[in-house]
């Protein structure tokens, strides 16, 4: 993680699954409410009572950026966000399958790839979250996603125990 850059730090224990972040994100993308275009997606895992917004980690490897055949993805210098340059992107979809986090999307309307660009250092989802489950701070995202994964995993294992 490049120092002094901020990431979207998620607090799954605060998330209620309301999807206000999806509404805000899609609003920023389209000027309408269209969650199918949101670049942040809320996972609602009821059985484990675990909810969390989920979006690009702005990972070091930048699989999407590396896979792009036309360099339509670049690193924004101020934020270290990996951003899609719309008029360069041809829409081949390679980034979508290269990203092992599932946070690259393809928009059928514009035929271009879309990803979280941290709203140029002022993420709208952070504004919209009513419970401060999304914060924009200096932090390593490995922490929250690991703990969240463990919780979801444990929920399943516990419940399996009950079935035996």
């Amino acid at each position: 993680m490049t120092s002094a850059t901020r990431t979207l730090q998620i607090h799954p224990d605060r998330c209620t699954g309301c999807k206000q972040c999806e509404l805000a994100c899609s609003w920023v993308q389209t000027g309408t409410f269209q969650p199918s275009r949101s670049l942040i997606r809320v996972h609602v895992f009821d059985e484990e009572a675990s909810f969390a917004p989920y979006t690009c980690f702005q990972c070091d490897e930048a699989w999407c950026m590396q896979a792009c055949p036309v360099n339509a993805i670049d690193v924004e210098p101020d934020t270290q966000a990996k951003v899609v340059i719309d008029d360069v992107c041809v829409g081949c979809g390679l980034c979508v399958i290269a990203c092992p986090f599932g946070t690259m999307f393809f928009d059928r309307g514009s035929h271009t790839a879309e990803k979280c660009d941290l709203c140029a250092d002022d993420p709208a989802c952070v504004h919209a979250c009513p419970t401060a489950a999304i914060e924009y701070v200096e932090a390593d995202p490995v922490g929250w996603i690991s703990a969240f994964g463990e919780k979801v995993d444990a929920g399943r294992r516990d419940s399996l125990k009950g079935e035996l």
Binding site: Y54, V96, G149, R156
Partner: protein
């Protein structure tokens, strides 16, 4: 000062150049390429006319200047004198190297059929091929070969207003990307859109009629069209290696540092047979993501870094008339345990291929909202790529094939992925082979201001 020679200006070569340059600002770097380096994945969009021609090319003088690369464009390697560390070019010149990268890629493989020399019969492999096609501006096209290369240009041709028919010798389409069920679903979808796919049909002859082409099939039937696109496969460009003493099999054999059996020679991309992530053996994966991985790993090692490659993963993504498909790793369930769901009526297919409790492959077919508009394509890749043991989650995914997200999060794959990267802990930097000046800073959307103002 180390002399690096890179043969081939495809993605493997370009990424190698850039990686070398990032690690060693002093080295001497020469790139040899028979045509101006371009991005082959972009050809369909060039055909469709939806992009600026400049987008095709991946280098220019400014790039060469910025990266201090000597560009040798318009020539090919003719022979390697491995003992002398010298490469002879087809224009009679020769270059000495300390480290050589063979990234010469592949070329279309043409079947032995009469009439292929007609100008109305084109491959779709180079910018020049596309130029030949665009000059003739055909309205009725037969594509010979319904594999990835043939199908990837379909949308572009439809957009140009072409009638498109496919001729495929095998009984199914996309045999190297999807299993028969999934492929059948795409065939049916295309048939519904009025696109003919003639499978199980061998081509015996092509005749230039002066105004078009007449194709004669093995059974005697004929097809008339304006132009034929040959898309019957590719073969690696490695003829010039004969006698160089480098071990080859399906491609040039390389170790996990992308080094051939000659320690001064590396190979990358379509021409290389490198580590296979899934099997631990070797494989040729002639795809863009592998070429890039290869180029970066080879470049890093050529520049003196000790970067080991865990192996390449086959993957493909295809848009065919609003139906999307993608596959990762093992695409064929033959002899494997596979689970998933299939709903041909809705154009929906999901397949997970297992080895014990690990995903070793899978595929998704469906509308955008089900494939690349969801998190699932990438997550499937992440699970195959990490090869993480899913334990009891395997049973869950069998029962709930749509609920990949939960399995992915619980698997710990994101943690594993965030904690590793290709070049031994070095973060990727932007820039790449981008042409200066760099694109402007991405502005905030105008809707953003409306939302956040209180």
């Amino acid at each position: 000062m180390t002399r690096h020679v890179i043969l081939g200006g495809g993605p493997a070569g370009i990424h190698a150049v850039e990686t070398i340059r990032q690690l060693d600002t002093e080295a001497d770097v020469t790139l040899v390429c028979d045509e101006a380096p371009c991005a082959r994945m972009v050809l369909p969009y060039h055909l469709a006319g939806t992009i600026a021609p400049g987008t095709l090319f991946t280098t220019d003088d400014a790039w060469a200047l910025e990266h201090q690369v000597a560009l040798e464009i318009g020539c090919r390697a003719h022979r390697i004198d491995a003992a002398a560390h010298r490469i002879e070019l087809d224009d009679g010149r020769s270059l000495d190297y300390d480290r050589l990268l063979v990234a010469t890629g592949s070329s279309p493989a043409r079947p032995p059929i009469e009439g292929l020399d007609s100008p109305r019969v084109v491959d779709m492999w180079t910018v020049a091929d596309a130029g030949t096609f665009l000059e003739q501006d055909p309205k009725d096209v037969v594509i010979v070969g319904a594999g990835f290369i043939g199908l990837v240009i379909l949308d572009a041709l439809i957009k140009r207003g072409c009638r498109v028919r496919f001729l495929e010798i095998a009984s199914v389409i996309l045999p190297r990307m999807l299993d028969a069920n999934a492929a059948g679903l795409i065939s049916a979808h295309l048939a519904n859109k009025g696109i003919e796919i003639l499978t199980g049909e061998a081509l015996s002859q092509i005749e230039d009629t002066g105004s078009g082409c007449r194709l004669t099939l093995a059974g005697g039937d004929t097809l008339d069209c304006d132009l034929v696109v040959m898309a019957t496969g590719i073969h690696a460009n490695r003829g010039f290696l004969e006698g160089a003493g480098i071990a080859t099999d399906a491609g040039i054999l390389v170790d996990d540092h992308l080094r051939t059996t000659d320690p001064a020679i590396f190979a990358a991309g379509d021409v290389a047979e490198g580590p296979d992530l899934l099997t631990g053996g070797h494989a040729v994966h002639a795809i863009q993501p592998t070429a890039i991985d290869h180029g970066r790993i080879a470049g890093a090692n050529m520049a003196g870094l000790d970067a080991a490659y865990s192996g390449s993963l086959a993957m493909n993504v295809l848009h065919t008339q609003a139906l999307e498909s993608c596959s990762f790793g093992r695409w064929s369930p033959e002899g494997m345990e596979s689970t998933g769901l299939s709903n041909p009526g809705a154009g929906i297919h999901r397949q997970y291929i297992w080895e014990d409790d690990r995903l070793v492959g899978g595929s998704l077919v469906g509308p955008t909202a089900a494939v690349s508009g969801a998190n699932d394509a990438g997550m499937l890749k992440g699970l195959v790529q990490t090869g993480i043991s899913l334990g009891t989650w395997k049973d869950y995914l069998k029962d709930h094939p749509l609920d990949l997200r939960r399995v992915y999060v619980a698997s710990g794959a994101p943690k594993a992925l965030l904690s590793s990267n290709l070049l031994t802990g070095r973060a990727s930097t932007g820039g790449g082979y981008r042409f200066p000046p760099r694109p402007p800073k991405r502005p905030r959307s105008t809707h953003h201001a409306v939302l956040v103002t209180r």
